[in-house]
């Protein structure tokens, strides 16, 4: 690695508050090797293939993400939803803002509470799925998270839990960057609905590793309503065992620089995943990046990706999606679509939909379409008395709602739909 990269990597570490809790030996060991791994690769730079389409600058430098403004409480689509909330305030678990975490069917531990050397279930998962994801694409900032994240939550699901768990990350001030690491294990045949909710400003790097055992079902929803000066890098790493299922959707209605990296290993036969995302960020130099990889390792698995982006003036939307099918993974069904609407002459959409296929009995496809709002449709709405602004917003909602259709929890779907309607002043 060149010296420049090494120096920048060390700078990044020193800018993070990384006071370590070394009381858990196995955790300390993973962190130590991960620090080495991170420094071996170094921070991503603009000429790295994975970052060719999005500038890594903001994700690399905490200092670039600064604002004097304090965060005000934002509206939430989930206010009326019955849920168990786990709140992190400026990167630290806030017991006062959170709900009572004792519920039937789950065991919740805070990462910084894992103090003993004795066995904890998360020991077998922590850092492993992240490491696996590196086979497909390099993600040094996820290694950074493994090495330095001090807070987060470990959730073990041992029964069907009907109430959604909300992980809410609130940054209220221009902080020194927050790293959060969550690990979730869904035991055989059980189900969890997990909401990740982002609010506020600041620099954050938040990673969730999810292990779904046989016939487990995971519903995941990510909602970003961040301020313009935020820089938010999220990672979702999932390993699916036999006949398990993941349905993950996301909506971003606000962010400055946002990159969502998702990696799914279909590691058991007949497992399946559907990953989708919709975004509509503000005008100006915002970045909205979805980088997804789906790794088919076993036969008879299904994967589906649906991404929709609406770009306003000067904003950049990025979609990188890769499907890799290994030799063993015969009878794979892989689908991917990415679509963008550019509202303004200066918006940009950059896409790299990729297929890497080593098995022959597969059916894989991807498609990508981008362009302006269809003029013919716009005229049709106007010729029914609807003015141009309203007509455009109706069409934006219609465009994004294809992603909402992917959400299988109907409560969440309705809340998201009506929140977006309000957001679009419909």
């Amino acid at each position: 690695m060149d010296n420049n990269r090494l120096q920048l990597s060390k700078d990044l570490i020193s800018n993070l508050s990384t006071e370590k809790n070394e009381s858990c030996e196995w955790l300390a060991k993973i962190r130590k090797t991960s620090e080495k791994r991170f420094l071996n690769h170094g921070i991503p730079l603009a000429f790295d293939e994975e970052w060719r389409l999005s500038s890594p600058d903001h994700f690399n430098k905490v200092s670039l993400c600064s604002s004097g403004e304090n965060h005000e409480k934002a509206p939430s689509p989930f206010e009326k939803l019955k849920k168990i909330s786990i709140v992190f305030l400026d990167g630290v678990f806030s017991k006062d803002s959170s709900d009572n975490l004792r519920a039937n069917g789950i065991e919740v531990t805070m990462l910084d509470e894992v103090v003993t050397d004795s066995y904890h279930w998360s020991k077998d998962i922590f850092g492993k799925i992240e490491k696996n994801s590196q086979i497909i694409s390099k993600r040094p900032l996820a290694i950074l998270n493994t090495a330095f994240a001090q807070s987060g939550v470990l959730i073990e699901v041992t029964d069907n839990i009907e109430v959604p768990i909300e992980l809410k990350y609130v940054c209220t001030k221009n902080n020194s960057g927050c790293l959060i690491r969550n690990v979730v294990r869904v035991c055989s045949g059980n189900k969890i609905t997990l909401i990740e909710h982002f609010e506020g400003n600041g620099w954050s790097n938040i990673c969730t590793e999810l292990w779904a055992e046989k016939k487990a079902i995971v519903e995941h929803f990510r909602f970003k309503y961040l301020s313009r000066d935020s820089c938010s890098n999220t990672f979702l790493f999932v390993c699916l065992q036999e006949k398990s299922e993941l349905r993950s959707s996301a909506l971003s209605l606000g962010a400055g620089h946002s990159r969502n990296e998702t990696h799914i290993s279909l590691d058991g036969e007949e497992s399946q995943c559907s990953i989708s995302g919709a975004s509509y960020l503000g005008e100006g130099k915002t970045l909205d990046d979805d980088t997804v990889s789906v790794h088919h390792l076993k036969p008879n698995c299904k994967s589906r990706q649906v991404f929709k982006k609406v770009q306003r003036a000067s904003s950049v939307g990025v979609f990188q999606g890769k499907i890799r099918v290994e030799r063993e993974a015969q009878k794979t069904d892989g689908y991917q679509t990415s679509r963008a609407i550019l509202l303004d002459q200066t918006g940009k959409f950059l896409a790299k939909p990729e297929l890497e296929i080593f098995a022959d009995d597969v059916s894989c496809s991807h498609g990508s379409v981008s362009g302006a709002i269809d003029e013919e449709t716009l005229f049709y709405l106007q010729s029914r008395g609807i003015d141009e602004t309203l007509a455009k917003n109706i069409l934006i909602l219609a465009f994004l709602s294809e992603v909402f259709e992917e959400i299988s929890d109907s409560n969440i779907k309705d809340l998201i739909l009506s929140f977006t309607e309000k957001h679009l002043k419909l």
């Binding site: 269809d374 003029e375 013919e376 449709t377 005229f379 049709y380 709405l381 106007q382 010729s383 029914r384 008395g385 609807i386 003015d387 141009e388 309203l390 007509a391 109706i394 069409l395 909602l397 219609a398 465009f399 709602s401 294809e402 419909l426």
Partner: protein, 247 residues
């Protein structure tokens, strides 16, 4: 009500489509424009509705005394115009009901009138939909999405019935319809006939005019009206073709 005077229109790539069109429609009248393909019939309806991509180089369009050319498409609807499309657009993700409600409330708001209450809206919608044989399932589906040709045209007439325009333009409404669908659509139109409402029916064939009886028929060739007459002119054209008007 509508007064078109010596209208000349170019499309974006420079070709002149309308070459001096003049037409006057009074309250309660039904006018039909007939003509061969490429004569400028659809351009006429598009220009009246304010579709982008056309440039008016000469002449004027007056609707109820107001200069129409400066108005956006939605503003024209507020004034009382309605265009039933030849090819209604499919809008995935917007339900028919929502679309109609938004449409009506937009128009009412622009006219400075209050919103229609949800109850009143639904009652009216159900009645009109029933008349046109439109099922409640179709109302729940996305606008025109996956509709058959006949369903799309019936949906256009439903929109017209809900918006109650002063002047309705029917652009090739008969195209792609079988005889049963044609009857449903025509009776939908006829039920909206009144002394206060005018129609401009644009068609290639005379067939539709058996069901929607016009007061006046105009033959359009190469961007202007070359002959006008009563309803029997349509029958004459049906029998003899357009050839004698071409030259």
């Amino acid at each position: 009500m509508l007064k078109i005077n010596d209208l000349k229109v170019k499309i974006d790539d420079g070709a002149e489509i309308l070459k001096g069109l003049s037409l006057e429609i009074s309250k309660g009248e039904i006018h039909a424009i007939m003509g061969p393909n490429g004569s400028g019939k659809s351009t006429t309806s598009n220009v009246l509705a304010g579709k982008p991509g056309y440039e008016v180089t000469n002449g004027s369009i007056q609707f109820l005394g107001e200069d129409f050319n400066q108005l956006t498409p939605d503003e024209r609807v507020v004034q009382g115009l309605f265009l039933a499309f030849q090819y209604p657009v499919e809008i995935q993700g917007v339900t028919n009901t929502n679309f109609l409600r938004t449409s009506i409330n937009s128009v009412l708001k622009a006219r400075g009138e209050g919103k229609m209450s949800p109850g009143e809206f639904l009652t009216k919608l159900k009645t009109k939909a029933n008349e046109l044989g439109i099922s409640s399932d179709m109302l729940k589906r996305s606008v025109n999405f996956g509709f058959s040709g006949g369903e799309k045209k019936r949906n256009e007439i439903l929109q017209m019935a809900m918006l109650e325009p002063k002047l309705a333009i029917l652009d090739e409404t008969d195209s792609g319809l079988d005889i049963d669908a044609l009857k449903v659509v025509s009776s939908g139109v006829n039920s909206l006939r009144s002394t206060e409402r005018s129609f401009l029916v644009i068609t290639h064939y005379q067939r539709l005019l058996n069901y929607i009886l016009p007061d006046f028929v105009h033959i359009m060739v190469q961007g202007k009206i070359v002959k006008s007459g009563a309803a029997d002119l349509a029958l004459y054209v049906e029998k003899n073709g357009y050839s004698e008007f071409l030259s």
